[in-house]
C-alpha cells in the first residue's frame, strides 16, 4: 500500500500525462520532494519560492484541506489520498 496522489490536468505535463501517482513519504512536504525526484519541476508548480503552497492551489488529504490540518507537515500514511486542486477559470 502507498499514498495515492491525484494530479490535476494542468500539472500532468510534468508527470508525463499521469493522473495518478504513488508515493510513500511520511508528510505532504516530503511527498512533494519524493515526486520532484521522479518528475523534475513538480514541486515548483505547487509550491512558492518561499516553500509555501501556492495560494491558487489547494492540497487535500482524504478530502480535507491541509490548511486546516498541519499544512505541509500533515502526516501521510499508507492508503491516504492526496489531491492537488488548482483554481480554474474556464466557463
Amino acid at each position: 500500500m502507498s499514498i495515492r496522489v491525484r494530479v490535476p490536468t494542468p500539472l500532468r505535463n510534468v508527470t508525463g500525462g499521469l493522473a495518478d501517482l504513488e508515493a510513500t513519504a511520511p508528510t505532504v512536504l516530503a511527498c512533494f520532494g519524493e515526486l520532484e525526484t521522479q518528475f523534475p519541476g513538480f514541486s515548483d508548480r505547487v509550491l512558492e519560492e518561499n516553500g509555501e503552497v501556492r495560494r491558487f492551489v489547494n492540497v487535500f488529504v482524504n478530502g480535507e484541506d491541509i490548511r486546516f490540518l498541519d499544512g505541509l507537515n500533515t502526516a501521510l500514511k499508507s492508503g491516504d489520498e492526496l489531491s492537488i486542486v488548482p483554481a480554474m477559470a474556464g466557463g
Partner: protein, 279 residues
C-alpha cells in the same frame, strides 16, 4: 399564473401540462413549481457553462432568468455553447440566448445584459435575483461575482472547466466563499487562456447541468446542496470526487475580521484574465 379564490396563485392548465413530469415528484409538487415560477436566477455568461444552465432552468420554469454577456457568437463557440447556432454567428450572445430560451419556454421572462459585469454595475444587475449562477471564463469576474454575492447576501452556484476536467460548488454567505478556497488568483501570464488550453465540448454540458440542479435545489429548498463541498469531475477517468471547503476565519471577505467591504478593481487584483492555474 391564475389565482384561486383566496388570492393565492395557482398553476394554469398550460403550466400543469408543461411541468407535469416534475410536478408529480413529491420534492417538487405544485408548491415547488410555484416556487420555481416565482424565482429568479442570474446567469453570469452565456457560454459553455451558461448555455446548459440557462436551458435547463428555463425549461424547468424558473420564472425570471437574467443573462449577462457582452460577447458575440463566434463559430468556435458552437462546439460547446449550445444556446447558439450557426445562424447566430456575429450576434450578441444575450440576443441569441434570449431567442433560444423563449423558444424552449415562453413562460419564462428573459432579461439580457449585453455589457461586461464590473464593479460599477454588479450590484445593480445582481440585486433583483434570488440566485446567481457563475459561468464566467476569467478570474477577475470570478472574484467580482464572489464578492458581490457575499456583500448582497446571495447564494452563488459556481462552476469552472479546464480541458477534460471540471469543478462545481455552492457558496452560501457565511459558509465560506471563493476567496476561502483560493485566496489569490494565479499570477498574470503564468497560465494559458481558455482559447489556448482547449476544452471538451461536452464538459460544460455536465458541469453547467450540475449548476442548474444546484440552483433548482436552492429554490425548492430540497436535498443537500454542494455548500462546503467542491465537486471534482474528471471526464477522462469518468470519475466524480469531492473535497471539503471550509470558511477561512482569515478570509478578507467573509472571515472574522474582513478587510473587503466594497467591490474593488478586479482587473488590477488579478492582473488580467486567465483560464487555469499551474500550467
Amino acid at each position: 399564473m391564475a389565482t384561486n379564490g383566496n388570492g393565492a396563485r395557482t398553476l394554469t392548465l398550460d403550466q400543469i401540462r408543461r411541468y407535469q413530469r416534475q410536478i408529480i415528484m413529491p420534492e417538487v409538487g405544485s408548491i415547488g413549481q410555484r416556487k420555481l415560477l416565482d424565482a429568479s436566477v442570474l446567469c453570469i455568461g452565456a457560454g459553455g457553462l451558461g448555455s446548459p444552465s440557462a436551458l435547463y432552468l428555463a425549461a424547468a420554469g424558473v420564472g425570471k432568468l437574467g443573462i449577462v454577456d457582452f460577447d458575440v457568437v463566434d463559430v468556435s463557440n458552437l462546439h460547446r455553447q449550445i444556446l447558439h447556432g450557426n445562424k447566430d454567428v456575429g450576434r450578441p450572445k444575450v440576443e441569441s440566448a434570449a431567442d433560444t430560451l423563449r423558444d424552449i419556454n415562453p413562460d419564462v421572462e428573459i432579461i439580457g445584459y449585453n455589457e461586461p459585469i464590473n464593479s460599477e454595475n454588479a450590484f445593480d444587475i445582481m440585486r433583483d435575483y434570488d440566485v446567481v449562477l457563475n459561468g464566467s471564463d476569467n478570474f477577475p469576474t470570478r472574484y467580482l461575482v464572489n464578492d458581490a454575492c457575499f456583500l448582497l447576501g446571495k447564494p452563488l452556484v459556481d462552476g469552472m472547466i479546464f480541458r477534460f476536467e471540471g469543478q462545481a460548488t455552492v457558496y452560501q454567505p457565511g459558509s465560506g466563499c471563493y476567496r476561502c478556497l483560493f485566496p489569490s488568483p494565479p499570477p498574470p501570464g503564468a497560465v494559458p487562456s481558455c482559447a489556448e488550453a482547449g476544452v471538451l465540448g461536452v464538459l460544460p454540458g455536465i458541469i453547467g447541468s450540475i449548476e442548474a440542479v444546484e440552483a433548482i435545489k436552492l429554490i425548492l429548498g430540497e436535498g443537500t446542496s454542494l455548500v462546503n463541498r467542491l465537486l471534482l469531475f474528471d471526464s477522462l477517468a469518468m470519475e466524480f470526487r469531492q473535497v471539503k471547503i471550509r470558511r477561512d476565519p482569515t478570509c478578507p471577505l467573509c472571515g472574522d475580521e474582513p478587510s473587503i467591504s466594497e467591490l474593488i478593481d478586479y482587473e488590477a487584483f488579478c492582473g488580467g484574465p486567465a483560464a487555469s492555474a499551474l500550467s
